[in-house]
Symmetry: C2
Subunit: 232 residues, 2 copies
């Protein structure tokens, strides 16, 4: 932790005085008291961005789905963390904190929740398959993006989306960027990166795309933070 | 690790020369390359039983679903671990290793898998809810129990089931014991124990039930191991 603080001290202080909001990790949509739908997101990329933002001098609010990671650089006092479980909880926590300079939507949020989670554990009914009724979850990134205002000619908060696609990454990612009406999206090949310490990114904005070569997630996060710092 | 080995050394050696097979943790049933259905099992109870069995002198084979726990007492050479993801994989690994003196079915195994997991990440189709087709998973405990033979008048392997119920624990657990045709089942209140280091057990066999008072999972595991050692 001491070493980490020393390393942090030597990073470029490009976000001093800025508030950065980050969602990270998976969500868990309860089916009953024990079962639920989730995804392979480990939270590592979002937590790396939180660390890099603190290193750059920002005040960071990290909203985390269920994951086993420690809050980075907690001792600096520059980071607060809110733990949530479902997409609905994450939506609520994030919208309450949307008054920020930058928003990184890194969490892998479930598109659908279960309409009526069972209060008691569902018993197996012989060979009859369970039937799950789904309900659309609120779209966190879209709803934060809708609150964006302009401040000195620049969007506030500056919204950065993430896209985890298993195919046609750049195309799908840029479509997502336009659909959500956000200035920047970061693409990473989901199944390859989930749980890993390594990642490879494509950063796409209105002016085009830029690849960040395979590296530790923390190295990528630092590069991404410097790219974003120039935009705000 | 050294301290743990010293502590292990002083436990009762009631399982020397015995082979113990244990499943632990949740399973993860893929919906597509990133999403899936899982449950809140942390694996802690199963891993505690594995540790207690090694301490008692057994040769342990631990078959673990996705969980972040270290293999206990690895340095003793008395434990091997197989990592699996889905219920189907866990079934295969467990049946291949069923030639054991005791089998503890601690894992929280999904009753249902997804019939045809998508090869590419499913895209959100506007407001149309996803439809998931389920397929019944093989029943690991039932299938191991079916292989049980009698050796010196005692069942081999001696099968111990686990029941995580949110209500009517003793009744549901004993029903499960009879349905699976196993000599012993251990009940614990699922939502209370998942992820916690504490637990509270009811051990049920044909002669009746015995409560083991709330304690650290490792303490409970040691008591359970001593109960089972008397049966084989």
């Amino acid at each position: 932790e001491i070493t980490e603080q020393v390393i942090a001290f030597f990073q470029k202080k490009t976000l001093v005085g800025k508030k950065v909001l980050i969602t990270a990790g998976p969500t868990f949509e309860a089916i009953d008291p024990v079962r639920g739908i989730t995804n392979h997101s480990s939270g590592k990329m979002g937590f790396a961005i939180a660390r890099a933002a603190v290193e750059a001098g920002a005040q960071v609010h990290l909203i985390a789905g269920p994951c086993d990671l420690d809050t980075p650089l907690l001792a600096t006092g520059q980071i607060t963390r809110t733990n949530v479980v479902s997409a609905k909880e994450m939506h609520e926590a994030t919208l309450s904190a949307a008054d920020s300079d930058v928003f990184f939507a890194v969490a892998a949020v479930a598109d659908w929740g279960i309409a009526k989670p069972a209060k008691e554990k569902l018993k197996r009914q012989g060979n009859q398959a369970p039937s799950l009724e789904f309900v659309a979850n609120p779209d966190i990134l879209l709803d934060v993006a809708k609150t964006a205002k302009t401040k000195g000619g620049k969007p506030y908060p500056y919204c950065v989306g993430f896209a985890a696609e298993s195919n046609d990454l750049e195309k799908h990612a840029n479509e997502k960027r336009k659909r959500k009406d956000i200035p920047m999206i970061v693409g990473n090949i989901g199944p390859d990166t989930f749980g890993s310490d390594l990642n490879q990114l494509i950063v796409i904005d209105a002016s085009g795309s830029k690849k960040i070569a395979k590296a530790e997630k923390l190295q990528l996060a630092r590069q991404l933070i410097q790219l974003v710092a120039k935009k705000i």
